[in-house]
């Protein structure tokens, strides 16, 4: 599909902006709003230039109120629009949780199919940018646990564009979490045309045979670095980019574990009750007889993400991942 396509070098911000631009051009039901997304183009500039191009009725600055942003999106969606809203940082989405859980996630069911919540809720998340408190958290497990939501996290510019496009075209509500730490860190050739990366499908980034490493978002890059270290140590890693938190791609995970017999999940989140726990549970439930060592979680501690100066203690590093890879393989 992407073979003959015209390509352009993009970072994740470019890719997201490009996906929004294409979809705004295609579908006049799409409305983008949130705090500072209009005139300024968002604090990370993901919506830059879109208000100029599509007008302030379609790309607008809202009052500073996240529940208001998400709640009005529910009404817009019920009336047939397809709002894409931004939470300035994922750490400020909590104010909108009631609208998210009670309405965004439930309206389709409550109205028994009458109203579709074709809403995308974008939010930068994760640590590593020396930010103030509340700007560094990774709460994807909470969204994953809420029935009615789908949760997507890209790790590359290519996927950012393809997944966001799928999210916008989805009739289900999507929590679209953007690993802001790598917003501009990775550049890649991305097709200029529209294309889709399917929601709910993980990607085997590189096949291997000794151990499966599942990661997503900014952790992919760290895991890749760990993979290099592992290779040097003679360990062959199968790296999987989860890409979607829910619905989680069990098949890809299970298939991989059945091959490697070992699994490690790398995530920025607090450890207990997190995504990594779910993956360990899946592996031990559905690939029990194939497991040669305990499924391992390489995650943040069960602590609040430290302020900038302490973050390095909390964040997963290639060394830490490699350390756990080695321990797992030697188990």
């Amino acid at each position: 599909m992407e073979g003959g396509a015209k390509m352009k070098v993009m970072n994740i911000v470019d890719a997201l902006n490009n996906a929004l631009d294409i979809k705004l051009g295609e579908d006049r039901n799409i409305i983008i709003y949130g705090e500072d997304v209009g005139v300024e183009g968002g604090v990370f500039r993901v919506t830059e230039g879109l208000q100029k191009k599509y007008g302030a009725e379609r790309v607008l600055d809202s009052p500073l109120a996240e529940s208001g942003i998400v709640g009005t999106a529910v009404g817009m969606a019920a009336a047939g629009l397809r709002p894409i809203v931004e939470m300035q940082f994922s750490g400020f989405a909590y104010v909108a949780f009631d609208q998210l859980i009670s309405h965004v996630a439930r309206y389709h069911n409550r109205s028994r199919g009458r109203y579709k919540m074709a809403i995308v809720i974008r939010m930068p998340y994760g640590g590593g940018i020396n930010a103030l408190e509340h700007h560094s958290e990774s709460m994807e497990a909470i969204y994953g646990h809420i029935p009615g939501l789908k949760v997507v996290i890209p790790s590359t510019p290519h996927d950012a564009k393809g997944l966001l496009t799928s999210a916008i075209e989805s009739d289900d509500p999507i929590i679209f979490m953007e690993p802001k730490r790598i917003y501009r860190a990775i550049k890649q050739d991305v097709p200029e045309e529209k294309f889709l990366v399917p929601i709910g499908k993980a990607k085997v980034i590189s096949p291997g045979k000794d151990v499966t490493v599942v990661a997503y978002g900014a952790m992919i890059r760290e895991a890749q670095r760990a993979m290099v270290m592992a290779k040097e140590a003679g360990i062959s890693v199968e790296l999987i980019d989860l890409r979607t938190i829910y619905p989680i791609d069990k098949d890809t995970i299970i298939q991989s574990v059945k091959k490697t017999g070992r699994i490690i999940t790398v995530a920025e989140e607090p450890r207990s009750f997190g995504v990594a726990a779910e993956i360990s549970a899946i592996a031990s439930e559905d690939a029990f007889l194939y497991l040669e060592s305990p499924p391992k979680r390489v995650t943040g501690f069960d602590t609040i993400v430290p302020y900038a100066r302490g973050e390095h203690h909390y964040l997963q590093t290639p060394e830490k991942i490699f350390y756990e890879i080695e321990r797992t393989v030697k188990f």
Binding site: G68, G71, T72, G75, A78, A79, H108, R112
Partner: protein
């Protein structure tokens, strides 16, 4: 009207008194007799249904229900003004308003019998389902208002909330977004004096609720919520203003929940009989009936007759709802997503295997 009845002055907009006598000729609305009689019948039907549901509930034939009797005038007046294309955004205590929008009693019964299907309201145009999280629905109304404005539609949104609901942050955000976006939404507060057991005086220190419109730069008015004439006039004026100016309006309708909060509530814990009696004199149905009788538009015989009809109709639809097909396992899964994840299908299959095992064990 908004200037004359500025909520800052604490004035209440009223047109008829407790005996159904006109006290405000200036604002007495033009309503032809047929329409007025229909309004009365609609109020009576809602009240009849309401009281019958309460007794069905006592018989164990339906689950918890929040009765709305005493508040019918607000809801029927809204229904009178509301066009087919207009949107209704309910809270959870607006039986007469749903009916006015075309919802069937059967659907309402299904809802309170514990079927999501009762929440689809397929026979009514442009209505949202019942919303339980207090005040959250007001933001949906504002969002719909945005769509109306964006698509230059000729529509108004009527959104309901209770007095207790005005304390929630979402009330504030909905009216504030509405004011900034300038959307055609009529926010109607049914101030029935209580939020479960909590009186308005513990809910807010503001002089009244209509006055809160000032904080959002929108119009507001405080209306006698048991006076169908005043309500009709106010809601009509508000909706015309909202429609032509694309502006929200806040209406506070003073009323009283004559029944319990829900069928599991015991109002004697927090209300006095005296208070209930006082409000009984202001009963909206009695007042309209008095007006109709005074003006020879209605007779006691007609009243009795139609009451019987209504009772039969309510019961017929109730029994129909009782005979609704069983809730199937797949109903649990069907509408969670438009595109159902494979794993949900697996969970369903897994459970079906268990059910087969269970069946086989018998």
């Amino acid at each position: 009207m908004f200037d004359e009845y500025n909520p800052l002055d604490e004035k209440i907009f009223q047109v008829i008194d407790n005996d159904g006598k006109i006290v405000n000729n200036k604002w007495f609305p033009e309503i032809d007799n047929e329409r007025l009689l229909k309004a009365y019948r609609d109020m009576l039907l809602a009240r009849t249904a309401d009281l019958m549901i309460v007794s069905y509930q006592r018989q164990g034939r339906i689950y918890t229900y929040p009765p709305s009797y005493g508040q019918e005038a607000i809801q029927v007046a809204t229904a009178m003004v509301m066009r087919d294309e207009d949107w209704l955004v309910p809270a959870f205590r607006e039986l007469a308003a749903y009916l006015g929008k075309g919802v069937t009693l059967k659907e309402v019964f299904l809802y309170y019998m514990g079927f999501e299907d009762g929440s689809r309201f397929l026979n009514a145009k442009n209505i949202l389902p019942i919303s339980i999280p207090v005040a959250s629905q007001l933001l949906h109304a504002t969002g719909i208002g945005y769509e109306i404005k964006y698509n230059k539609k000729d529509q108004v949104v009527f959104a309901f909330v209770g007095d207790g609901g005005t304390s929630e942050g979402d009330f504030h955000e909905a009216l504030n977004f509405g004011g900034v976006w300038k959307v055609p939404v009529v926010f109607i507060v049914q101030n029935n004096q209580y939020s479960i057991s909590t009186p308005v005086s513990k809910q807010t220190a503001s002089k009244n609720i209509a006055i809160k419109s000032v904080a959002y730069g929108i119009k507001g008015i405080k209306v006698d919520g048991n006076d169908i004439f005043a309500l009709f006039q106010a809601i009509k004026t508000a909706s015309e203003y909202a429609r032509s100016e694309s502006e929200p309006v806040l209406i506070e309708a003073l009323t009283y929940r004559k029944g319990s909060h829900t069928t599991s509530d015991d109002p004697t814990l927090y209300r006095t009989e005296d208070e209930e009696k006082e409000w009984d004199m202001k009963d909206p149905l009695k007042r309209l009936k008095a007006y109709l009788l005074n003006n020879n538009l209605w007779t006691e015989e007609q009243d009795q007759q139609i009451l019987q009809q209504f009772k039969q109709e309510v019961d017929r639809q109730f029994v129909e709802a009782e005979n609704y097909p069983l809730y199937k396992l797949e109903d649990v899964f069907e509408y969670i997503y438009v595109e159902m994840p494979d794993d949900l299908k697996r969970q369903q299959n897994e459970h079906e295997n268990f059910l087969k095992w269970k069946e086989a064990r018998k």
